[in-house]
Amino acid sequence: MVLEIFQFRKLIVPVLVLGLAIIFGLNLNDWNSNASFFNNMVKIDNFSVAFAGLAIFVTLLVFILSTDYYAGSENNLSDYMTILTFILVGALMMFNYSNLTMLFLGVETLSIALYVMAGSRRFDIRSNEAGFKYFLMGSFASGFLLFGIALIFGSTGSFDLAKIADYTIQNQQNISPLFYTGMFLVVFAMLFKVSAAPFHFWAPDVYEGAPALVTAYMSTLVKIAAFAAFYKLMSYTFFYTFEKVAPVLNIVAILTLAVGNLIALSQSNFKRLLAYSGISHAGYLMLVILTAKNQTAGALFYYSLAYALSTLAAFAVAIPVFKAANSEEISAFNGLAKKNPWHAAALSMAMIGLAGIPPFAGFLGKYYIFTEALQSDYFYTTLFAIITSMIGVYYYFKVIIAMYSQPANEAKMEQSFNYNLVLVVCLILSIVFGIFPSSILNIF
């Protein structure tokens, strides 16, 4: 804001990117430090450092994209950037909370900023709808979360993750029914945030309506943050009472996989397609939540990383294409292979990565998740996940087919250094992590 007053608009993004790069470094510095702050409200451990690193990296890439995305718009760049930064702040709280109130604060900081961003194209009715819908539905989920936290506090007398876990272990025989109610409410709220079926209805509309850049941010960072927080909750706090929610989560996982993959088949809008693909990926990540008891954070991290890289690469191609064609349908990609063969090849790689076909990181991520799920005896769920990932290929390839077999449209795509930079970084990392996975797979 200050920069805008002094007419330093051009500096806003570079300064932010620089700042992010610095906190990325500072964050890595905390590796193995295991410190806790603010009366144990916040706890830094390797889990939170790793995910925070990923989140900051994703934000960095999105900010690099944003320079060109907002290049034409006159107003309020600083507002947008501030709000986007607040989303990151919320996400960071969701990684290192060690107290349920902190979790709530993180979720709210992230969500409120997101409601604003989803509706940030003020004169576009779709964007308004997205913001409003997300706000209404999200508030319900926040209500659930808060109510659940209150019930848990009522039965255990603490907000602290470790103390709640102690309570469940010490009172094995007589855990109060209030606690279970609270746990279920919290779990449902988290399921809403990760857009798992049947709590997924907001996702396609919001993804479609929100500005493309916000959709990119939402489908990567926000999803990762929600899953990391969810995972932490299941593996640190509710592990002892996990058996009670396991059947519910199992059904949710299967439902999410089915809904995400089946409905995606009939989509013609690229952002909706990615929304449903995001739901289906939430289904695969639900398998990690199901196995959270066995400390499968490595699988969660690797898969999130692979998913984020492929999705961001897809958006780095899609945003300029949308701009050129003035349309967000899959048909906007028609004939891209003839006009921009490199971009078409890059988007194909991103799509193949999302579909989970080797040699991209997406394949190993799935492989790891499936081994963990089988090890925990989720036999049929895994089989189902494998079948749905087959269905997934169909809709990812729809985009490839549009690029290669349809006649080209007139729209001319402008080249931009920033988009290409993000694209190249994402794809190279995706291949590198696909070929040399051990550094990431065994990070914890």
Partner: protein, 477 residues
């Protein structure tokens, strides 16, 4: 270390070719495939004198989940590597007088395909094998899709999803074995040494069998094949039918039989019956075809049906016959599709009717085509004979009646092949064909080399039998 060189030559070539343009791309592709062929010959001599040790490569990829990279070599792999690397220069050469759009991408994908195929044949760890198996699918998909004919989008997508569906079932099978084996190892040696691993082999068999049956293809998993063969560009069809299809039959011997032996025994009768049904069914349909490429596609189903029937007979002559026949069929089918391409290139259509008397204007072509057809109808002294004889003998050992039906392949094969030849090449001269140019230099080179291979292999099948015998004898136990 030799195995890494086998892999790196085509990979490096594939990347280099991306940066070339025009005719340079295919010349470079030819040079590299010839280098790879020469290196394969060298690898063969090393294998003969030193055995597998020179090829062994074992490295850890990831600690958790346990992933290893293991390349090695044995007689079976050697035969398949030879097949792939003999055929690739011929396939590249066959494109020399054709105009291909964006040749640098086309040949780069082709070399990538060679990389993946070589990888499939020398992988001795389930995981890395699976990666190469999938990797082979991507270049062939883009080749068929970008350079294909009518309806390519639908046809190639069907092909892709069909084969991927099979692969994912196989992946599930491997995941299951991974969990079941105490060391969490997918190494071929440990899986085949300890095949039980407390898993239910009955349905593990199906997970693997369906994956391979789609690739081969065995009836009823074949519906992708005729469309894809017809739509794909000829060089793509050659890759598919000549080499890629052999991935399936090779994998039956390499993976299915050693790692789920009890499952194989349990379902042997189903598998062999399906294969034999495929032979008869595909032969009958081939007789009815009017389109040359479709006829060849169905004949290919019939031939590989016999190969898989021989494999599932589970005896030495079946295994050995299948290796010989895989090699022979790979060469013959590439020759056949090339002849079909030559005809379509000159007449602009692939109808069997409406063509005749080509022998009068193109005698060289007629002769080469004849030799290849004789090879594929298994005339004695051609390569097809040795394999088919051994395969039929093995099916006979399993069940007399099945062998009678399987034997129909020779009769029916002769019917559709010779009738097609008679109508198109002999027959009454049709006026429009009188300007059918005879073979050009590269076509001649390809077809003559194939003809020589057909006759040499028919007279001396010894080397292949000798190479594969120790491995296959081990498999019988």
């Amino acid at each position: 270390m030799l195995s890494l060189t086998l892999l790196s030559i085509p990979l490096i070539a594939s990347i280099l070719i991306l940066f070339t343009r025009g005719n340079l791309s295919r010349s470079l592709a030819l040079v590299f495939t010839l280098v790879q062929l020469a290196f394969t010959a060298y690898a063969y001599t090393v294998f003969k004198s030193e055995g597998a040790a020179a090829f062994d490569f074992l490295a850890n990829w990831s600690v958790k989940p346990v992933l290893n990279i293991h390349f090695s070599m044995d007689g079976m792999s050697m035969v398949m590597i030879m097949l792939a690397n003999v055929l690739l220069p011929l396939i590249v050469l066959s494109g020399f007088n054709r105009d291909t759009e964006r040749p640098h991408i086309f040949y780069s994908l082709m070399l990538l395909m060679q990389f993946a195929l070589n990888g499939v044949f020398i992988s001795f760890d389930g995981f890395i094998y699976y990666i190469f198996w999938e990797l082979a699918l991507i270049p062939i998909y883009f080749i068929s899709f970008n350079w294909g004919g009518e309806n390519r989008a639908q046809v190639t997508l069907k092909f892709f999803i069909y084969t991927l569906a099979g692969s994912l079932l196989m992946l599930f099978g491997f995941l299951f074995l991974y969990n079941g084996s105490p060391a969490h190892s997918l190494d071929w040696a440990s899986l085949s040494a300890n095949p039980a691993c407390d898993c239910n082999q009955s349905w593990l068999f199906w997970l693997f069998f369906i994956a391979f049956a789609i690739k081969i293809p065995i009836i009823p998993f074949h519906t992708w094949q005729p469309d894809t063969y017809t739509t794909a560009p000829t060089q793509g069809t050659m890759l598919l039918s000549g080499i890629m299809l052999k991935m399936g039959t090779y994998s039956l011997l390499r993976w299915l039989i050693p790692i789920v032996p009890d499952g194989v025994k349990e379902w042997q009768y189903v598998a062999i019956t399906l294969s034999v049904i495929g032979i008869v069914y595909a032969s009958v349909i081939a007789i009815m075809q009017r389109d040359l490429k479709r006829l060849l596609a169905y004949s290919s189903i019939a031939h590989v049906g016999l190969i898989s029937a021989g494999i599932f007979a589970l005896n030495l002559s079946g295994f050995q016959g299948s290796m010989v026949q895989m090699f022979a069929h790979g060469i013959n089918v590439v020759g056949l599709f090339y002849c079909a391409d030559i005809i379509m290139n000159r007449t602009q259509h692939g109808e069997i009717e409406g063509l005749g008397g080509v022998r009068l204007v193109a005698p060289k072509f007629a002769t080469c085509f004849m030799i290849i057809i004789l090879g594929s109808v298994a005339l004695p002294l051609t390569n097809g004979f040795v394999g088919e004889f051994m395969l039929l003998f093995s099916v006979y050992q399993y069940n007399t009646w099945l062998s009678v039906f399987a034997g129909l392949t020779i009769i029916l094969g002769a019917v559709y092949m010779l009738r097609m030849y008679q109508k198109m090449i002999l027959g009454n001269p049709v006026k429009e064909n009188m300007n059918f140019p005879d073979l050009m230099w590269n076509e001649q080179l390809v077809l003559v080399s194939i003809g020589i291979l057909i006759i040499v292999m028919g007279v001396f099948p010894g080397p292949i039998l000798e190479l594969t015998e120790p491995v296959l004898k081990n498999l019988i136990k």
